[in-house]
Symmetry: D3
Subunit: 137 residues, 6 copies
């Protein structure tokens, strides 16, 4: 299936890199200023790619508006303007690195797409210079 | 072949999502405001990736200027400042969604590249947030 | 008053540069491909700057969400996914150049802002390379 | 003096819009989700414009590297990866809106520039769509 | 006159910050790595703002295509893919800092615009983070 | 291994497309203005993608700061503000096209990453419109 569709949505959130199972010293050494106790924040960009056949009657692989609505309902409404370490139930126990967010967001969307549409990749951009992707192997 | 070259070119065009084989009501329900009769428009970005061996004498996989000239001659000159539903002969009968444009543009370029250069992917960005890709499977 | 707030919102529309009071030949010569009869389109960015005193209790010159809501209600909802020459009553008789849109949008917003907030500048970006601004002299 | 120089630097921080002198209800109604107790965050862009004469021997109004060093030392090192409401002594009592940050940053830099260089404008971009400027009237 | 039009054009060039009237040591200390003898380069963006009345018959302050043609003919064709210190006659003796380029480009365009159109500002972006502007005082 | 991390870093350099084994005429015909003897320049963006397992204790595939430090030490410090044809020992004999730079940079980083982290792709953006990638086949 050689067609993919990609959409980008935004959210603004705070996070802190911290592993509560490790000592304060370990956390400080491992994460540096990203471990500051009160957190810092990002204008995150969530980029999602899906693949599948194009419906010849409609000309869409998926209505991009529907895809964005799924992302809003399953992810954005829950994480926007939140402190990711403590305010999102399904991120409990997850160190909110870009890598872990990409995987958690992938799992929130996979299986929620219309029949025939496959989630192929989720990328989380923390900044224009740092991103992580999780994808169907 | 592990080297690819990617170029981006722009065009500005109007389009309307509309399937003339379906009823006006079906079209309105399916496409919403994208079905407005007089069309709307985009600053499209066409992104094309090719792969192949790098010529050791020149240091190029392909001269990017030549690649852009092919895109201009085969695509941009025909679609720029046009209403895509009715003014482009080779888009006749094509619902001008991003998915269908990506495929149509792929077919316009494949087979027109210099020997040894393979078209690997065409992406059409309707906006900075919406894109579709068609690629050699 | 040395503080300003600037917001950006988007819309996608088609337009055609055409003066119906002039001959077809004049129009073609003056506007070139921008005069194509079926129009072309843009991902427009509307950028609006306001100035005024900062309310010390709230810390805002204006709630940016309210400013965007005004822009959506007065402008975006009316022009998004429209053909600007014929589908927008308050643009009737306006050649939809960037210059004229900037002025028309300015007039749609001035006088609709909360008390004490002054509209200082409206910029219409047709592309990342072309824009026009209209501002309080 | 008709020459200006503008530089941009980044920082990532968390903030919460909250006026501690007002009730929880007032805060919630005024700021909405921006009042969430644990804060949210941004990839802030700080844009600073200075003006003055160009030194004919050097060709600079100011060495942009020196200007950025001043911004780093006076502002970025203090706010980057911080929660702006409580971790920055010179922001104590300041509701960290874009407007108030622009003014506070202006005051941190004015008077610290090399002789003959005048600070003319400070803009704080919270996102690509929201910004505030404070400038010498 | 409250309307302005702004266009952006690009060129790629090499330059070296060096004052031949000063010692090698002075140059090295003043400019650091920007003084490297073989030069370095930038993807420059030249941004030009003009102001004037909008012609009611055409709807333009100036045809942006004509404005870009003037910039191409007067500036871009001369500096693109050049080493700015030695290959551009009208930059002879000019230390090619952003400040000095902005002024030199201003002088190349002022007086070459159609009647009634006034050059109000020229900005030279060396990078997305560094720029200088020269403007009519 | 379905997780990747991507970072972007910048450098500004001059280069000239020229094959010293060929005649001046061949070079001029092949490279056009990119063969200008004094070179031209770019704001290069180097984009690097690595893959590997995410360490569950840290939540990282690799600390992006460490990845950027490797890029700075192995590449950026050597090429920034340089003329790539003659000032970088490990680029000697390499025609500095985007394709060849991508491969040379790949080779500078592969084998230097922490255990378990695999270099999967290096992209060199000469401009926002031209790039080349080299990747593990």
């Amino acid at each position: 299936m050689p067609t993919t569709v990609t959409v980008r949505v935004n959210f603004e959130a705070a996070h802190r890199l911290h592993n509560p199972d490790q000592s304060a010293e370990w956390n400080r050494e491992t994460y540096g200023k990203c471990n500051n106790p009160h957190g810092h924040g990002h204008n995150y960009v969530l980029e999602v790619t899906v693949e599948g056949p194009v419906d010849p009657t409609i000309g869409y692989l998926i209505d991009m508006k529907i895809l964005k609505d799924i992302l809003r309902y399953r992810i954005i409404d829950e994480v926007d303007h939140r402190f990711l370490n403590i305010e999102v139930p399904w991120l409990e126990g997850v160190i909110p690195s870009a890598e872990n967010l990409a995987r958690a967001f992938f799992d929130r969307v996979a299986g929620r797409l219309p029949e025939g549409v496959v989630l192929s990749r989720v990328t989380v951009h923390e900044t224009e210079r740092n991103s992580a992707s999780y994808w169907a192997g």
